[in-house]
């Protein structure tokens, strides 16, 4: 049995070559968009402009982290929009905008994300519900609970805003760099270590590539799946906290754009929707690419309908460019 495990592990190392290639492609794509932007729109690649784009990309990057975890095992998390929104509402309603309650608020918001992820994971791994159905239903459940329990965000504590410490952690600066970006860089480093260097990371790729083989190699496929859905919920909640720190107050529908963005960032980042292939650094590049495209189109004063059309066409073009590569390996 240990021999099988070792062989699975060495298989993981050789595959990392493919993952590294995907990450390089994704970053090349992001750089290409920024270069094109700098050419057609002087000042697009200035530090101020890049900084603004990176901060926006960090929110997409956080939800994309969660989405990546479940996509790596061939799942999908459609409950992200309202996990994000619920976490944002929970943070402000438990902290009431007071710094002394920040830790408590963070614990409640992130704990809720973990709990939802646990429910999703148990439903998918133990009850055999398809990930699409489980997380789609969960999204509705959370939407209803968020609306109902806050009476449509009209409750007494609903008007409170994020505590100053959380706001400072998102919008503040440390040595000229937004703190939010430092946090994101930390998350990216942590996830890279987790995926590339830890046993857990090896198990994730093993389950994503072939659950049956992983099971026979002694990996608890269900356990790994549940943990991944919990991580997905955690990162969606973290994005909610970051967004409410950025904007000050939660709104209803805050998370709606982030479902499709998270999937798009993951896919543009070269992570296979079928599971087993890809790396978080790719999703980072994917998030930057998506935000850069939208920012460029806004800078060019392309009307909203044009932005939407071009956005879709660019994603299609990227998909077609990747398609061949995905078939080959």
């Amino acid at each position: 049995m240990t021999d099988t495990v070792r062989r699975a592990a060495t298989g993981g190392w050789s595959r990392l070559g493919g993952n590294a290639r995907r990450v390089v492609y994704a970053f090349a794509g992001a750089v290409a968009i920024v270069v094109v932007g700098a050419l057609v729109h002087p000042g697009f690649a200035s530090w101020a402009s890049l900084r603004g784009m990176l901060v926006l990309a960090s929110f997409t990057g956080l939800v994309a982290a969660g989405q990546m975890f479940v996509v790596l095992v061939g799942g999908i998390d459609l409950s992200m929009p309202w996990v994000l929104n619920a976490a944002a509402i929970l943070l402000t309603t438990t902290t009431l905008g007071q710094d002394s309650r920040t830790l408590w608020g963070l614990a409640v918001a992130l704990g809720a994300g973990l709990a939802v992820g646990l429910a999703n994971g148990l439903g998918v791994a133990w009850l055999g519900v398809s990930p699409v159905v489980m997380t789609l239903g969960m999204n509705g459940v959370l939407e209803g609970l968020s609306l109902g329990l806050s009476s449509g965000l009209t409750c007494g504590s609903c008007s409170s805003s994020a505590p100053p410490s959380v706001r400072a952690a998102v919008t503040g600066y440390l040595g000229g760099i937004p703190v939010d970006l430092l946090v994101w860089a930390g998350v990216a480093a942590l996830l890279s270590v987790l995926l590339s260097l830890s046993t857990f990371g090896r198990r994730v790729y093993a389950v994503g590539n072939n659950p049956r083989a992983a099971f026979l190699a002694g990996i608890s496929v269900r356990g790994v799946t549940v943990v991944l859905y919990m991580l997905s919920g955690l990162f969606a909640a973290l994005a909610g906290v970051a967004l409410v720190g950025y904007g000050g107050q939660p709104s209803l529908g805050l998370g709606d754009p982030y479902l499709f963005q998270s999937i798009a960032a993951v896919v543009v980042g070269g992570i296979s929707i079928l599971g087993g292939r890809g790396h978080y650094l790719g999703a980072v590049a994917g998030s930057v690419t998506l935000v850069a495209i939208v920012t460029l189109l806004q800078a060019e004063r392309v009307p909203e309908y044009g932005r939407s059309i071009i956005y879709g066409l660019v994603i299609l073009a990227i998909l077609l460019a990747y398609g061949r590569e995905q078939r080959d390996d």
Partner: protein, 344 residues
């Protein structure tokens, strides 16, 4: 998308008899257990509706109530039929939202003029939907991309086109159109549902219908026995687009105006209706009639909550719970059926 959780549990969710029946094309006497469950869920919802209605108003729902329920459900019914066609091939269509928004915009702009023009646009709008769907189909079949990704991208494109056609909510529909498509005083809605059922009944017995099931059950095998896989896929997505166009007509006739975001809510509800109707997301198993039942059940749940006196804010909560419970019931039924087969 193909079922990615290929762990031991996932295999148990596949009913081997239903699968084999679909693949060999043997005609079954009874619908598959999952489709039956969709009907049972609908029957339960109707009973709950009538019960709570009587509790509130001291009498049972009148024919007028039922026709309004049917009219209100028609957009989702047709969106779900379209979605079910795609899901039967093992795909999923997120662009239903964009195609519906685009078609609603066109309908709201053009369905308020002379009778000749209106009649023309009643044909053109579904055709626009079909063309948009065919584009999805070509990308899925020829581009060999995952349906969920293709339709995610085209959703953005069609949403953009919808915004171009109708930048903000508005437009109008002549009273004649509403009378023909969604008349609350006559059971026209029922007639459209009957037409859809008849069309499905014929379709699934044609070569095309068999090919759809073959493709959804095992694409490689279907290709090997000579099913023109690419052509079938393009036709399925085009037919789905046609259904979304019809759904848009019913939507516009009921609301009598347009909204560039009209289709958004149908992305998730159409998938939910398909799942409640017992269609396997992995493809090849289920019936569009199940999706029709699922669509009615999902629409009725809202009325049930209303008559049960539950705060409307909780609507999404109960719809989500309804979806999960319905699917878990389906798994339980399958498990029980297997147990019984195992002992006999």
């Amino acid at each position: 998308m193909a079922d990615p959780m290929a762990d031991p549990m996932a295999d148990q969710a596949v009913d081997p008899t239903a699968h084999r029946g679909a693949r060999t094309g043997r005609r079954r006497q009874l619908p598959a257990p999952h489709t039956l469950l969709g009907y049972a869920v609908l029957a339960g919802t109707v009973a709950a509706y009538a019960g709570f209605y009587r509790h509130q108003l001291q009498h049972f729902p009148t024919p007028y109530d039922y026709t309004s329920v049917i009219d209100a459900a028609l957009p989702l019914v047709f969106a779900a039929i379209g979605q079910s066609l795609v899901v039967l091939t093992g795909g999923i269509d997120l662009s239903v939202g964009g195609i519906m928004s685009l078609c609603v915009g066109l309908a709201a702009l053009h369905l308020d003029g002379g009778p000749g023009g209106v009649a023309g646009w009643l044909v053109v709008v579904p055709l626009v939907g079909a063309v948009a769907g065919a584009v999805n189909g070509v990308l899925v079949a020829r581009g060999r991309l995952a349906p969920i990704l293709v339709t995610l991208a085209t959703l953005s494109v069609y949403d953009g086109l919808a915004l171009k056609v109708l930048p903000e909510p508005g437009g109008s529909v002549s009273a004649r159109v509403t009378e023909v498509l969604a008349n609350p005083n006559a059971p026209v809605g029922l007639a459209y549902v009957a037409l859809a059922v008849a069309a499905w009944w014929v379709l699934r017995r044609t070569r095309f219908g068999m090919n759809v099931y073959a493709l959804g059950s095992d694409e490689a095998a279907a290709r090997a026995v000579g099913v023109p896989v690419d052509r079938v896929k393009v036709c399925v997505y085009a037919a789905a687009g046609l259904c979304y166009g019809l759904a848009a007509l019913f939507y516009t006739a009921t609301t009598t105006s347009g909204d560039p975001n009209a289709g958004n809510s149908y992305i998730l509800t159409s998938i939910a209706a398909v799942v409640i109707g017992g269609i396997a997301l992995a493809g090849g198993r289920g019936s569009a009639m199940g999706a029709v039942a699922g669509a009615f059940a999902l629409t009725l749940v809202v009325d049930v909550l209303f008559f049960a006196g539950i705060d409307q804010q909780y609507e999404a909560f109960f719809q989500g719970l309804f979806l999960i419970v319905a699917v878990l019931l389906g798994s339980a039924v399958t498990l029980l059926a297997r147990r019984r087969k195992g002992t006999s």
